[in-house]
């Protein structure tokens, strides 16, 4: 899956380069609205897939514009805007109070994570304490929470995954304290693992889980704090295990920066947001 995705990305970027070069030669001035210049965007690798695709579309709409998207984590994105080495930073968390003094945040999407079980598992709700006890190895049998007498298969994510970060932050866990039986990469891999093991517990992006459960996959999504795990609850800002995906700028922005941020908050990129299993931010 990774090599494939990499090759696709390579191919797409190659194609984009070719198309862009072609456009440059033709001097397509039909649609550029007078915008030109160069934008540097750095930051969260969670946001990057959406923003770099959005940037490619934006460049096609405005042939005079060049946008350079680099990753390096939310911290780098915020720091780069502060230093002025980037016009826009990408972050997969809300700004801290100190950062709000000098920077402004422009949310474009939300990322939510929900707990999944096998559909045949009789357990329908778990408290945060129970989930923490599962993942730290204090509870190892489903009967302790009213389920069958069977060992719990704890499914965790590999280091660096955004879903892992959201999960750890929400449950106040540190990855070395987790005692997993299986570690997976992609959301799909987590879902297949839970489908293949009736005693498994895992967590994935809400969008992926909702789509899989909707198309008949044998998983069930657990509510969190009484809120059902749906993309709607996430979009309404009600679902607790979530985080905003934001673009960060200085309070005063130039027209090009503002135009790109407006573009990223518009319906134009909702398909890109959905393709990464995020939900668009409500405006």
């Amino acid at each position: 899956m990774h090599p494939l995705r990499f090759i696709t990305a390579l191919f797409v970027s190659l194609l984009a380069t070719i198309t862009l070069t072609a456009c440059g030669g033709g001097g397509g001035s039909a649609n550029d609205g007078g915008l030109s210049g160069k934008l540097v965007i750095t930051g969260s690798s969670t946001c990057a897939p959406v923003i770099s695709e959005a940037a490619k579309r934006f460049e096609q709409l405005h042939p005079g514009v060049r946008i350079d998207v680099q990753t390096g984590g939310s911290g780098r994105g915020i720091a780069d805007v502060g230093k002025g080495t980037a016009q826009i930073g990408m972050a997969s968390r809300a700004l801290k109070d100190a950062e709000k003094q000098t920077l402004s945040a422009h949310p474009f999407a939300s990322d939510g994570v929900c707990i999944i079980l096998h559909k045949s598992n009789p357990v329908t709700e778990l408290t945060s304490e129970q989930i923490v006890a599962f993942y730290t190895g204090q509870t190892t049998n489903w009967k302790d929470v009213g389920g069958k007498d069977a060992a719990i298969t704890v499914v965790n994510k590999a280091e660096g995954r955004a879903t892992l970060e959201v999960f750890l932050e929400f449950f106040k866990l540190k990855n070395p304290d987790i005692k997993p039986a299986v570690i997976v990469g992609e959301n799909e891999h987590a879902i297949k693992t839970v489908v293949g093991d009736v005693n498994a517990i895992g967590y994935v992006s809400i969008g992926t889980a909702e789509y899989s459960a909707g198309s008949g996959t044998a998983i069930k999504l657990l509510p969190a704090g009484g809120i059902p795990a749906t993309t709607k609850a996430l979009a309404d800002g009600k679902f607790p295990i979530s985080r905003p995906l934001i673009l960060v700028t200085k309070p005063q922005t130039n027209p090009l920066t503002k135009a790109f941020i407006d573009y990223c908050q518009s319906k134009e990129i909702h398909d890109l947001i959905a393709s990464q299993y995020f939900v668009p931010a409500s405006r």
């Binding site: 899956m1 995705r5 590999a158 280091e159 039986a181 299986v182 570690i183 990469g185 891999h189 293949g196």
Partner: protein, 286 residues
């Protein structure tokens, strides 16, 4: 065709052209390996400098984002799953080659060989998914699941190459053995297998190379927990799985640490090839 001197000299020229083409192609193959190693070293250097080689061997575990970098459990995982697969696949592969060459009637042998060739062509992600759906419910995501899947994946390599090297044994050996009145099994054991030994050893080396480098299938069935396996049912993570799982979302320091797994893997493969060559040389002398 005439045999004028001119023709002979042009033959020489053609030979020279061929020679230089072959030299060029061989150089490309060699240079690619060297370039990959150089690339791995360059990418690993930042991690090796800032973290130091010793911590990759001695840290508590592998949590690169919590500053723990021990790769030894993954080295053990890679070696354990490869060893298990080879132990299973070698007798099966050689047995299947013997069956095909000496015991099966011609049509059955041809059909069977075709099946083994198809087995060789199944993509690893299919093996992985099949393993996840069929084997994992029986044996959980574990070292054993990895061994079973890998054994099936490398079986055709051993079976097909072993049969080819048996076929390359001079037919006189077979006739001589028959003339001496040896039973079929005695002929195979005393004459054919020893004569085909170096080819069979080579097939096993290639199978080891495929097993230790396999990624997709292993990621899907082994559980990927970083720990020294204490039983066949314990989940393990291999060096290749480590790269596949973490590379796409890794930041700079983490990425460089992952390239150290690649470097380590390369080192293990070089070591295995050296050992295998030494073994096959020893057995030639014996």
């Amino acid at each position: 065709m005439t045999s004028s001197p001119r023709n002979i000299s042009s033959l020489h020229r053609a030979d020279a052209a061929l020679l230089w083409t072959l030299r060029g192609l061989a150089a490309v193959a060699g240079i690619v390996v060297v370039l990959i190693v150089v690339f791995l070293v360059l990418e690993s250097l930042p991690a090796l400098r800032s973290i130091g080689l010793l911590r990759f061997l001695r840290d508590q575990s592998w949590y690169p984002l919590s500053d723990q970098f021990n790769m030894m459990p993954m080295v053990a995982g890679s070696l354990a799953v490869t060893l298990g697969a080879i132990v299973l696949a070698t007798p099966l592969g050689i047995g299947s080659a013997l069956f095909c060459r000496y015991y099966a009637p011609r049509p059955i042998a041809d059909f069977y060989r075709g099946i083994v060739q198809v087995l060789a062509g199944i993509p690893s992600v299919v093996f992985g998914f099949w393993g996840l759906v069929v084997w994992v419910p029986l044996v959980t995501q574990s070292l054993l699941a990895g061994i079973l899947i890998l054994a099936l994946m490398i079986l055709p390599t051993i079976a097909l190459l072993a049969e080819t090297s048996l076929a390359a044994v001079p037919v006189l050996y077979e006739r001589g053995a028959a003339a001496l009145g040896l039973t079929r099994w005695a002929m195979i054991r005393r004459v054919m297998l020893p004569a085909a030994r170096s080819g069979i050893v080579t097939s096993i080396i290639l199978a080891i190379g495929r097993a230790i480098g396999e990624t997709m299938a292993v990621v899907m069935v082994c559980g990927n927990v970083v720990q020294l396996p204490d039983s066949l049912f314990a989940p393990i993570r291999t060096l290749t799985a480590n790269i596949a799982l973490e590379m796409s979302y890794a930041g700079e320091a983490h990425r460089s640490a992952l390239f150290v797994s690649g470097l380590l893997l390369m080192f293990i493969v070089v070591l295995l090839v050296a050992v295998a060559q030494w073994i096959s040389k020893e057995s030639d002398h014996a």
